[in-house]
């Protein structure tokens, strides 16, 4: 296993005075699932935009597959890194298949028609994401959860080593949230994808991610195993909320407690292995 994403001493700010990311260093191994967590404004999406070359670092370096990001052409980088942002309804009524076929853009020739091999990648991606059954429907006719699967299908059809996702489960209900994470985990385990996902859901991240990067405003950053990175004190400090920590089947979980929350002693774990701290 070698490091596919290597970040060293990375700093960034949108203006010369401001620093959003400061001296960030970590390495993501090939085939790993990494969750990026942190409060709003901590620089999660900024980091993602740095990783896919939309922004250039102020200091430090980002290497993808042993070469600096800025050394790639747009086209070459698109063959290494695929990005999934929050799903939306496109302006024109492209069908699911047309949309997923666009993943092959970085591989097309002058007049841009897909080859048979390109179509195989598209079919594969439609199968694995379970979107093949509505392949000929326009995106506008799908639910948000289905549409997000289509965006992930497109990223898979792009056939890259790395998949970057910006809050892939935003606005989705519980079933779709778990569905998306299951799908990503499948892509990781079966296709050997390296997955870096920004997430607001600490509990799902603990379940699915191998490593976690916690970005937290003034308190720097933490990178490591989810169980080490997330502790009650740290979450309360980074996110600035009172929280409740519990354990289910050996895995930690956290609940935020608001001003009107009941006393945390009244919350009891329902699951078999549940116990209070």
């Amino acid at each position: 296993m070698n490091g596919i994403i290597k970040i060293e001493n990375l700093s960034f700010g949108y203006t010369p005075e401001e620093t959003i990311l400061k001296a960030l260093s970590f390495e993501v191994m090939q085939g790993e699932f990494v969750g990026i967590a942190g409060p709003n404004g901590a620089g999660k999406t900024t980091l993602l935009n740095l990783l896919c070359g939309l922004l250039t670092p102020k200091a430090g370096s980002i290497e993808i597959d042993a070469a600096p990001v800025e050394s790639y052409s747009v086209r070459d980088l698109a063959q290494k890194v695929a990005v999934v942002r929050q799903e939306f309804v496109p302006v024109f009524d492209f069908t699911v298949r047309e949309m997923v076929s666009m993943a092959r853009t970085p591989y097309l020739g002058t007049f841009g028609f897909e080859s048979k091999a390109d179509r195989e990648f598209v079919n594969d991606a439609l199968e694995i994401t379970d979107t093949a059954r509505f392949a000929s429907r326009p995106l506008a006719q799908l639910s948000g959860g289905e549409r997000q699967r289509v965006f992930i299908a497109r990223a898979l059809a792009q056939n890259t080593d790395v998949l970057l996702l910006d809050e892939p489960t935003n606005f989705l209900d519980l079933k779709y949230q778990v569905g998306i994470y299951d799908l990503l985990k499948t892509a990781q385990l079966e296709k050997g994808k390296t997955i870096v996902a920004i997430t607001h859901d600490i509990n799902l991240t603990i379940q699915y991610a191998d490593h976690v990067l916690l970005l937290g405003g003034n308190s720097g950053y933490q990178y490591g195993y989810a169980k080490d990175v997330f502790s009650l004190e740290r979450i309360e400090k980074v996110f600035g909320v009172r929280a409740f920590a519990g354990k289910v089947g050996g895995e930690k979980f956290f609940l935020p407690l608001g001003k009107f929350a009941k006393d945390s002693r009244q919350i009891t774990g329902k699951s078999a292995g549940g116990q209070q701290e």
Binding site: L54, R75, P90, R97, T105
Partner: protein
Amino acid sequence: MVKILTPKKLVLKIIICLAVLAVVMCLCAMTGRIRPAEGPRKISLEKVFAGPGQEPGENIDYEIFVGVRLPRVILAALVGAALACAGVVLQAILRNPLADPYILGISSGAGLGVIAAVLSGVTWSFWAGSPMAVFAFTGASLTVWLVWYIGRFTGKSQITSLLLAGVVVNAFFSAVIMFLTSIANSEQLRSTIYWLMGNITEKDWLVLWVSTCCILGGIIGLFSLCHKLNVLTFGEDDAKALGVKTSKTRVAAFGFAAFITAIAVSLSGLIGFVGLIVPHGVRLVFGPDHRQLLPLSAIIGSIFLVIADTLARTIVAPAQLPVGVITAIAGGPFFLVLLAKYSRKVSWLK
């Protein structure tokens, strides 16, 4: 049944549409009056194929068909193709289904260029064209960028803000055009105003050939960008993630679109709504894939304008209407229907 666009299927569709275009052009060239006094009479194809005859005036049908009608029909086809393609490209890059070179003021930008050329009395000419085409291109390109920047500036989430920008640009240029025409001498004035309304007239063959080459060249250039345009409709960040050099593609697409719009405007003045009606119709039937949308819109645009022009010169014969009147009467209500439709569906990121 899985519908997948392959080059083979596309070529087949293009050939079928071209055949329809050929038939329409032929029929339209035969329609109309030969002499005002005689009333409407169709030219007979037999007589046309008989050739010009020994002396001039011997075969009137042939002379009218080849000398008058055919150039005019070809001109209409060219202008229709150019405006429809410009509409397709503007809609893709501005991510706005209501974009059209006329509505966004790009045609009036080109028109202003033409009028400036006419009034300044610049006389140098290289090919069959004149400074007109160059001035028109400059005007059109500048307007494209102006509208794009205003659209970016006024907010990306509102489908109507860009249209408002276009309306303002259009009104401003129209005012400047009015000003320039009112200080012009009266003879220039009459022909310019008629031209402004969108007017297709007989042109000589050299002008037609050069324009054909330019417009076809522009359309082929745009066709090579079509798969990138598909991705660009999902927004700039998405397009970059899919390996498209967005600014380079945009410059090229705007350049080609301004170029063919400028040629169309310098040939026939301001003809509106072709770039709106035609792409929408084609999209409805064939889907939004630009690799197919662009070439088919070009051909259907030709058919549309050839028919519109035939109507323009036959409805009130022996007088003639500017064809822009016909397209605007058809396009205005169409635009309002679309505006109502898309204003309801503004769920649109960035």
